[in-house]
């Protein structure tokens, strides 16, 4: 189990998402609030897009804890992004802490993160890989359920990279969950799996909140949408609400609320996806498998 955050909207300094909020992602790396275990110290990753250079993301990952990483601290104070993924890892038991296992995973223009676990993953790994086209089979560098789910997602896409619509991304993500369910059921695994996945192509972002267990809640997930997310010099961060004749230009989807102002945040219902479009339109839809 891990924690993650996505941002889409007007360019924002990374530090305003990662360091400055009361319950920032860096704070969550050692003092997460909404999971039983507050520690997410098994590495971190951030990725963002520089669309005027090329459509693939700039990903920076490390197995070191996020809270003490000087390079991340320096970057966060100097990079502005309009589309960001960031993740802090708490390695599941038996999953190695190695750079190849750190999120976000990326391929071509896509980034992928996971907060959760595929129950009994070792029992389904081989069959999962058998489904994959060579390209995505070969893409896998590490050993996590998360990266394998990413390969499955890419395998499910029906349109060429660069022509994928938000709807198609959402469909492929839901198909990924459905396929994982088939695989675990087929292997006789009865423990619940947790699939909070986030995927983006640098334009649209889809995030799922999903638990395969009946009456078992998925991992926490929230979003916040407004005119601008801003951290003032006094250290208070806030999502400004959209006034009349104004447009939303900032959407955060996050495992935990970053700020104490609960009115800024919507809880994503279980077994739903959040879709964030380039114009900051957000839709929440049930996952029908």
């Amino acid at each position: 189990m891990c924690r993650f955050i996505t941002y889409s909207g007007a360019p924002i300094l990374l530090a305003d998402l990662l360091y400055r909020p009361t319950n920032s992602l860096i704070m969550q790396s050692h003092h997460a609030r909404e999971r039983a275990e507050p520690l997410n110290g098994d590495g971190f990753g951030v990725g963002w897009y520089v669309p005027d250079i090329d459509p693939s993301p700039c990903v920076q990952r490390s197995v070191n804890p996020a809270w003490s990483n000087h390079n991340l601290q320096n970057l966060a104070l100097k990079v502005r992004a309009s589309s960001l993924f960031a993740h802090i890892r708490a390695a599941s038991p038996g999953m190695a802490v190695s750079e190849t296992n750190v999120h976000p995973f990326s391929y071509d223009r896509f980034m992928w993160m996971h907060n959760g676990v595929a129950a009994g993953f070792h029992q389904i790994k081989r069959r999962l890989r058998d489904h994959l086209k060579d390209e995505f089979y070969d893409m896998i560098q590490g050993t996590t359920d998360s990266e394998h789910a990413f390969a499955l997602f890419l395998n499910n896409l029906r349109t060429p990279f660069g022509e994928t619509s938000p709807d198609e991304m959402r469909r492929a993500l839901c198909e990924t969950i459905g396929r994982l369910n088939e695989l675990t059921r087929g292997a006789g695994i009865t423990e619940p799996s947790f699939y909070n996945f986030a995927v983006t192509d640098g334009r649209a972002t889809i995030v799922s909140r999903y638990s395969s267990g009946e009456n078992i809640e998925g991992a926490s997930l929230h979003y916040s949408r407004g005119r601008q997310f801003e951290c003032l010099p006094d250290g208070v961060c806030d999502m400004h609400t959209v006034g009349e004749n104004q447009r939303a230009a900032a959407v955060i989807v996050s495992s935990e609320r970053l700020t104490d102002d609960a009115s800024d945040w919507e809880r994503v219902p279980d077994n739903h996806t959040v879709t964030v479009l380039p114009d900051s339109v957000v839709s929440v839809e049930p996952i029908d498998l």
Copy 2:
């Protein structure tokens, strides 16, 4: 603030001290019990002696968290030591997480660890260094109060390396605390300092529990002494009591009790030292400055 452990006695597998006890040092790296903040994830170090090779210790250090380090896991299952220091670090604010700042520090045959903080260290650092002989001035590789205190300790020794008695080591350690007090007082620093120091030459070990603040308790410190410290295959670890006609052959001094059996552990009183001699004799004495 950090956590540490020292062991002296019959050879013991490192895993039996570092991993297997209920409240092992590795457990304390993410779930310390006896300090407000349970996390000690800013690196770790272990050092032990191989006296049939030479009198200097074998030190292994890393800025990575102890809980996920494969090399430490492997070593701990294959190395037996009769004299061990181990430390997990929680960097004080403003102290860099870098390998040169990881404990134990070592020089010649000595190892040194610190759990605590010299209040206002940056205000006394320069005057502290002015006291040092060139040899110990040049020895310093990092920026911590802890390593500087070690340099002060070595500077205070009146006998050549290799001829230092346990009494002389204890005297130099107490003088180190006294000198630090003079320096902080001289700089007008009024916040309390905490000096749980551990030093060994591979034969005797001295550990202090000290707070410079009136009516302010020092960081926790315990010791356990017995015939043998053993972890059974069922996972239960225990210090065996010394029966009639038996001799003590195992002494642990530790920031926290490693096991739940409180009767195995003695709390070190504030402003006292624990001295562990090579024959496992333990003495607890007040620090008179």
Copy 3:
């Protein structure tokens, strides 16, 4: 292409193999002599056995260069081993520098190293994996041809771990080479592959020198056998020859000669294996596929 060394015999300080010889493995990490590219800076690993504790090896690996690693320097001065593997890596193009890709690989009581490359590995990887029993399929943590060859070797063993004879180990190693040849041929790959493999169970060691290309020499491989390998205080290291009424008690197999005294070293012929038995008996045999 990489460099490696194996040692079997009377206990020897690691530094006497890794650091002190004129052309030590650490020297080869930046100034290898017998390959076109002198740099092997993409990580290192060492593994040795402590048979009175258990039959699995103690492996220490890092992606950092060997030449500057303080932990390795300290360990090498304090650990004696009677069975050692050590490896320095020069990552093949396209193979990630990550801890999971560093040699020696280990599983149960076996260690495995590789100096060479399976040509067109990405084209045979999937079929190779299809051959593997689940246990060895799941064992794979990284992405190298080398680790996959290790999985194939384990898959080829016909006897349970712990009951494997040196002959059976040699047979399985040769079968591994044969199977790799089948796979690359089947994929239409015509470039030569290089399979200098080393495997040990902590008692016997088998090392191959093999090139699949006709008239293309395999990577360099040498061995030295004598009464004792010793480094004198003046820095000169030497394999003492076996006199009358004396027994050999030290065998080194190494990608490069460690010392300048060529008379101490035998060149392993192409497409042969060297087998080192626990009593330091060495046999060199052709690889018949």
Copy 4:
């Protein structure tokens, strides 16, 4: 001895300086041409300015070799800078490989790099530090001669940060060399020192080429000035010459020529400085001490 590069001019993709030229800095990390030892594998650092955010640089450093660092590879493809410092380190004997010893060093708006060595540095370190104001004494995090020289440079500045003219920077740099000469002479050190220093405040850049030994050449240093430095899709990189009615807008100062076209490069004479002004005006002046 190390290798470094500075760039000032129109924004350029980091990859076009660090990776794409024939003799790029990354190439020099394993195959440097103009020093006896081709290896510079003891860490790397890059720093650049984002002036619309704040005047301090964004520095990224690592003890890992530059050639295999994924984060650097990714960043270099996505960051454009108009003022860049980059450095690859070959640690001098006895200087630890630790993150705090990696260049460029930075403080407030300044960055500093060094290619060379202060002879007998350990004999002058303490007296050098005695000269420093507390602010710069406390700034020092590592143990290198290079970082101590940076502290001396800052100590020599007579104007507040942010108001320092290029002339004042040059004067302070030359004074630093003079002071180091006094210190080594005073300590009776007769071996030559090498002081190729580079300093910038994000606007002007001063680089020295200096050897304190009579008739002993300083480390290599070159510069290239033109309209634009460009790497074409076919992989050829070139400094475009300034035509009539055109202005220079790109200046590289580098330990080695990055490209094979020698006509693009000027060799900096021994014991001279190169000053690069914000408008790409370059002046080469002798160092008079």
